[in-house]
């Protein structure tokens, strides 16, 4: 029978089709493409930086540039008080800033989505209990919590990542729960139940795919805020003093008297780098939202 031979194709084709449709729709959004371009540029630079940045350009003992010099030949963005190139520092800093942002976001999204999904699906005691926990975390002031967490876990990237994740998963959880409740109320959930689906199957096969767009959108925005949080926490001196991140650059510039010295070239580049990456993620997030939200298609 021909039906059997057709079946696999029928299953496969639409998925490609859906992804292709997503890409085509995304390609029509100039702001989204610009954001993606910015992110790709930063990502490639950050990944490739070990190829052209070595220890002798980062180690304060080994560098030989002029100290706290404004932009000159060879140092297009000037130097810091140790004589390192600000341009190279910004590029090098992207590595840790981006990875902290992305890892913290991944933790946030996984934890928040799981809690939100469970709380939305099991609307009885389990759901209520989970939401009580979430509310409790929301009530915690995020900055003092992050500070005390770093104090407990010790300074460094790991504690900053955990501090960011712990304070930001609640927003995702609430968002996902609300969306789960909306999806659960739709008739196709009842149909799935009538077909014999259990809780796990309903959550994985029906609720999650319908909540996914929202999770994607919120995660791009979470990355942006995580990078900002990283900068804030490092600026407050909670980061690893030896590693280079945008936050630590700002902190070093501030501590090294860049403000009083009028060394704008030391303060502005990391700030602008943060701005560009946050902007990039926000633009991508908005574009993804537009493309995935059926009600916005064509607008």
């Amino acid at each position: 029978m021909t039906a059997a031979t057709h079946a696999p194709a029928a299953v496969e084709v639409p998925r490609h089709h859906a992804f292709g449709r997503f890409c085509r729709a995304y390609a029509k959004r100039p702001a989204g493409l610009a954001g993606l371009g910015l992110l790709v540029a930063f990502g490639v630079l950050a990944l490739a930086s070990p190829l052209f940045i070595g220890d002798d350009q980062l180690n304060v003992i080994k560098v030989d540039g002029p100290q706290l010099s404004p932009p000159v030949d060879g140092y297009p963005l000037g130097t810091d008080q140790a004589g390192r190139s600000v341009l190279l520092l910004v590029i090098w800093g992207a590595r840790e800033s981006l990875s902290i942002g992305i890892i913290a976001t991944a933790l946030t999204v996984v934890l928040g989505s799981a809690v939100g999904l469970l709380a939305g699906h099991y609307q009885g005691r389990v759901g209520q209990g989970l939401m009580h926990v979430t509310d409790w975390f929301i009530a915690l002031p995020s900055l003092p919590l992050a500070i005390s967490l770093s104090a407990v876990l010790g300074q460094g990237a790991a504690s900053i990542t955990i501090a960011i994740a712990v304070t930001s998963w609640t927003a995702t959880a609430r968002l996902v729960r609300a969306q789960t409740l909306a999806v659960e109320a739709r008739p196709f959930i009842e149909r799935a139940r009538a077909l014999g689906a259990g809780n796990t199957q309903i959550m994985i096969r029906h609720v999650l795919p319908n909540v996914m767009p929202l999770i994607l959108v919120s995660s791009t925005l979470t990355v942006a805020s995580a990078i900002l949080s990283e900068a804030t926490l490092t600026f407050l001196g909670l980061g690893d003093p030896t590693s280079v991140t945008w936050g630590s650059m700002l902190q070093a510039a501030f501590a090294g008297g860049a403000v009083t010295a009028g060394a704008w070239w030391y303060l502005i580049p990391p700030g602008i780098a943060i701005l560009i990456v946050v902007l990039g993620f926000t633009l991508v997030g908005r574009a993804v939202e537009h493309v995935l939200n059926p009600r916005m298609v064509g607008r």
Binding site: A3, P8, A10, P187, R191, G196, A197, G198, Q201
Partner: protein, 317 residues
């Protein structure tokens, strides 16, 4: 022969909301669907017909009475329910909402077989179900997404999804209420065809008496959690006995009768009146001033299909 689907003295009571009395959505119902039979369950919104339909497919656990599939009482363990669902399938009112917008037709129809481990020759099974539901050629529809189809086609996909499990009975809750008039007839035709070709039984829940006339063999009229009249379509719709059935028929635009408009509060399952539950709105009782109606409860109708029509009314016999 045992009926494919039967309920005995079924009760579904919802817990009270904020100090109100518990809502007796289904309050003692006997009903049988025999093999190859189409039964229409009609009534206004809030009469409990949708709750009854959900109890029949095991989505709502009754607080009393039994649901029987092929004479076997339905158990409510996960395994028993799953087994029962190959026997009884549900078709919902709004096909647009009943399909997951992110699943294509193939996956939507294959869902049932996959859940029940019938993945052997899955493609064949799905295509056969699509073809039986009138989506021909099935290959053309398998890759489509719900939003790429019309309401009628979506409802056919939902029906195909039910057929893919080879059920013996389908419970359809307002299967055509959200469809256009011209499509409505096509879907009803399909249900009749399935009965003729597969011997499929169906319980069709509707507010529309015309639907019962179009496809059903028997009809049960429900009011406030109970069946108040039941019998063959001809008996009930052409020679209605119960004053509620008569009122429902009289307000149809084509009835040719003077419409009997029922007044009074809309029925509330949290405050079922004593005596005959219809008495506060009953036009007959108003005329006769019969105290029997206010005070004496009526027995639950037996729902025996072999008897001629039954009406739960003190004044009709």
């Amino acid at each position: 022969m045992k009926p494919v689907l039967e309920v005995r003295d079924l009760m579904v009571t919802y817990p009270p909301r904020r100090g109100a009395a518990p809502a007796r959505a289904v309050d003692g119902v006997n009903l049988q669907v025999r093999r190859g039979e189409i039964v229409a369950l009609v009534g206004e919104s809030g009469c409990g017909k949708s709750t009854l339909a959900r109890a029949l497919v095991g989505l709502v656990k009754p607080t009393g009475g039994q649901v029987l599939g092929d004479g076997e009482p339905l158990g409510y363990s996960a395994a028993a329910l799953k087994a029962y669902r190959r026997h009884t399938q549900l078709v919902l009112q709004d096909p647009g909402g009943a399909l997951n917008p992110r699943q294509n037709v193939f996956d939507a129809v294959a869902e049932g077989p996959r859940l029940h481990g019938l993945t052997d020759r899955l493609g064949e099974r799905v295509h056969a179900a699509l073809a039986r539901a009138g989506l021909r050629p099935p290959e053309e529809f398998a890759g489509r997404f719900p939003h790429e189809m019309s309401g009628g086609q979506q409802q056919r996909v939902v029906i195909a999804g039910a057929l893919a499990l080879d059920p013996s009975v389908i419970v359809a809750d307002e299967p055509v209420a959200s469809l256009d008039a011209s499509v409505r007839g096509e879907i009803l035709k399909l249900i009749l065809e399935l009965r003729d070709s597969l011997g499929l039984s169906a319980l069709v829940v509707s507010h529309d008496l015309g639907l019962a006339w179009n496809i059903a063999d028997r009809v049960a009229v429900m009011y406030l959690g109970r069946i108040v009249e039941t019998g063959t379509v001809e008996e009930v719709l052409l020679r209605p006995k119960h004053p509620y059935t008569r009122a429902l028929l009289s307000v149809l635009p084509d009835s040719g009768e003077r419409p009997v408009l029922l007044t009074g509060e809309p029925p509330d399952p949290a405050a079922v009146p004593g005596g005959c539950r219809f008495h506060p709105r009953c036009p007959l009782r108003a005329a006769e001033q019969d105290t029997l109606c206010d005070s004496r409860d009526l027995p639950v109708l037996t729902g025996d299909p072999s008897r001629s029509s039954l009406a739960a009314c003190h004044l009709v016999h």
